[in-house]
Subunit: 341 residues, 2 copies
DNA sequence: GTGAAAGCGCTAACAA
DNA sequence: TTGTTAGCGCTTTCAC
C-alpha cells in the first residue's frame, strides 16, 4: 500500500515496475508500440500504470531516443488571414500524426534566427516554414540535419522540399474570364518585390494578358496587407487611362481594393471596376466581397507538407522534392462586364 | 585538431569542455545566466563553443531541471477570426519572455483530453486555455500541478486563474447609443447556450435594455460562426414586430448578420437596421463592415495572461486570480438612426 | 519474453 | 571559482 509515490510527485516507470512487480524495462516495453511483450505482462503493467496515473515522460524519451516528436512551424505573425488558415490546417494534421507543434510566430528577421536556435536546442524533428527564410538560414538547418519543408516559397537553384501552388492554368482562366467580360485595361497591384509568390503570380498574369490580349495601364505595389490597398488603389485609379479590372497579388489586398473602391471612392464593383485576387481565403467568400480569385488548396497543401516532413523525419536520406498543387479559378461576384466607354 | 566531434554530429558540453580544456560543469555554468564564473573561463568556453557551434540541449536541460520552458496553448481551431488574433498575440509575447509555445488546436472534446495528456508527457510548464475545458479537465491539470490560465472563460465557484473582459459599462454605452438613435426594438443573436461569454454578454444587454428602456422583440441562436448568422437573421427579421437593431454575441456573427441583411435581404445598414457585435476583431473594422462593437483589449489581455502564467510558473504557490480588463465601446457605421415607422 | 546495466546531455550539490 | 559526482526518466543492447 505504501509503494505509491508521494502524492503530487509524478510516477516514473520505476514506480510502475515496483507496483507491478516487474522490471523497469518491461514497463518501457509496454509503452513502446510493437515491442515484444506477453499479454500477461502487459496487463499487469497497464493496471499498475493506471493506478499510478503513469504516462511516460516524453522529455526523457526524447533525450534517449533522439526524437522529440515535435515539429516546428515558422509562420509570419503579420495580420493576414492567410497564415492562420495555414497554421490551423497544419496543426490539426500534425496532431493526427502524433506530432506536437512548436510554434514560432515571426515578426522580423531576428525572430527567425532566434527560432532556428530554439529549434536546434529543442531538437525539433523537422521544420515547416511558411515564413521568410534566408538561404543561409535554410542551409544552417540543413547542416544541422533538420528536415525542412518550405510552404509556398522556395529558392532558385537550390534543392529544397517545397509545397507550391501552381496557378498557371487558373490565371489563364481568370484572364480569359475577364477578357470575356470585355476587359482589356488592367491595373496590377503587386505584392512586395522580394516575394516570390507575388513575382510568380504577376509573371503569370502578364503572360496571360499577352496571350489573351489587353494591356496593363497602371501598376502599384502593396505589402500584402489590407491597409496597403487603399493608397495603392488610389494610385491605380488616378492614371490617365483607368483600368476596368484590378488584379491584386492576394485576396487580402483585393479586399482592400474593393473596400476602397466601394466605400471610399464611391465606385460600384463590378459595375464600374472588376476586382480579382489570389489565395481563396475564407473571408474572400463573405457576401460583402465574394471575390473572384485563384484558390490555393490550402487543406491539401497542408496535408502534403505534413506528409513530406514526416517522410523526411522517418527517412532522412529521402531526396528533396517539390510538390506543385494546382490552384483553381473561383468565380465570385467581384467581376462583371466591363463598363462601356 | 582532432578533438572536434564528427562533423554532422552535434557537439555536447563534453566536446566543448575538452576543446577548452576545462570541466564539463564549467561549460554548463557558462550557459547558465547568473552563475559564478570568471571572465577568463567564460571567454575560453565561449570560444570553444563557437568553434563547435555548441548550443545547450534544451531537452536534457528540461529533464534534469524539471522545467521545459514550454507553455501549452489550447485554442479552438474553429474558423473564427478571434482565435488567431489571440494566438498570435500570446505567441509573440511568450517568445519575448523566453518561453516556447506548444500549440494544441482543438476540434472537439477528444482533442482536449489528448492535449492534456501531451502537456503532461511533455512537461509543459504551464497552460493557457482559450478553448473549452471541462471542470474535470481543469482539475486534472491542477492535480498535476500545472498552472493554468483561462482566457476569456471561467467556472463559477471555482478558484481559477482567469483573464476576462469586463464589458458592463461598454454594453451600457452601446445600448444608450442605440437608444439615442431612437432604437427600442431589439433583436438578439445569442451564441451557443453553453458559452459563458455569450451568457454574460446577453445578460448585460438585457440589463442595459431594462435600464434604458426598449424591448427585445425577437431572439435566435447561432454558434459564433459567420455562417450561422444567415439563418438566424432570417429568423429575427421574420417576426411580427421587426427589430430595428440587432445585437449579436460576437463580431463574426454580426458580420454575417450585416451581410445577410445587405446582400441577401436587400436591406440597408444602418438605414433599415442597425447591427452591433462584440470582440472588436480586426475584420470588423474593414470598410465593408465598420461594425459598432464592444472591443476586447486583446493585446493587453494576452499580456496579462502571459504575465499571470509566468508568475505561477516561477512561484507555484501564488494564489489564483481573476483579472477583469475593461472592454471599450467602439462606434462604427453599422449603427444609425432608427427608421421612422 | 524478461531483467540487468549502460547511457542520452545536462544541472546541481558538494568538495577542493 | 572550479572540478567531481550523482542523478533526471527513459530506451536499448545484451544476456538469460
Amino acid at each position: 500500500m505504501s509503494s505509491k509515490p508521494e502524492i503530487n510527485s509524478r510516477a516514473t516507470s520505476y514506480d510502475v515496475a515496483r507496483l507491478a512487480g516487474v522490471s523497469q524495462s518491461a514497463v518501457s516495453r509496454c509503452f513502446k508500440p510493437g515491442a515484444s511483450i506477453s499479454k500477461k505482462m502487459r496487463d499487469k503493467v497497464v493496471a499498475a500504470a493506471e493506478e499510478l496515473n503513469y504516462q511516460p515522460n516524453a522529455i526523457a524519451r526524447s533525450l534517449i531516443s533522439q526524437r522529440s516528436h515535435m515539429v516546428a512551424i515558422l509562420i509570419s505573425s503579420q495580420i493576414n488571414f492567410y497564415y492562420p488558415e495555414v497554421l490551423f490546417q497544419l496543426s490539426d494534421r500534425f496532431s493526427k500524426n502524433g506530432l506536437r507543434v512548436l510554434l514560432f510566430t515571426i515578426n522580423g528577421e531576428e525572430d527567425v534566427a532566434d527560432a532556428i536556435d530554439q529549434i536546434w536546442q529543442y531538437q525539433a524533428d523537422g521544420v515547416i516554414s511558411a515564413s521568410a527564410l534566408s538561404i543561409e538560414q535554410h542551409q544552417l538547418l540543413q547542416r544541422r540535419q533538420i528536415p525542412v519543408v518550405m510552404f509556398n516559397r522556395y529558392f532558385y537553384n537550390l534543392p529544397t522540399n517545397t509545397i507550391w501552388c501552381d496557378t498557371e492554368s487558373a490565371v489563364n482562366e481568370m484572364i480569359s474570364h475577364l477578357k470575356d467580360f470585355g476587359h482589356s485595361k488592367f491595373g496590377l497591384l503587386r505584392g512586395p518585390d522580394y516575394s516570390m509568390v507575388s513575382q510568380e503570380r504577376m509573371r503569370l498574369v502578364r503572360q496571360a494578358i499577352d496571350t489573351h490580349g489587353g494591356q496593363i495601364v497602371s501598376e502599384s505595389e502593396g505589402n500584402y496587407r489590407y491597409e496597403s490597398a487603399a493608397a495603392a488603389t488610389q494610385e491605380l485609379m488616378q492614371h490617365r487611362v483607368k483600368p476596368t479590372a484590378i488584379i491584386a497579388a492576394n485576396d487580402m489586398m483585393a479586399m482592400g481594393v474593393l473596400d476602397e473602391l466601394k466605400n471610399v471612392m464611391g465606385k460600384s464593383v463590378p459595375a464600374d471596376v472588376s476586382v480579382v485576387g489570389f489565395d481563396g481565403i475564407w473571408a474572400a467568400s463573405f457576401a460583402s466581397y465574394e471575390l473572384t480569385t485563384v484558390r490555393q488548396p490550402i487543406g491539401r497543401m497542408a496535408e502534403a507538407a505534413v506528409e513530406m516532413i514526416v517522410d523526411r523525419i522517418e527517412k532522412p536520406t529521402t531526396s528533396t522534392e517539390k510538390r506543385y498543387l494546382t490552384g483553381t479559378f473561383v468565380q465570385g461576384t467581384s467581376t462583371g462586364p466591363a463598363k462601356a466607354k
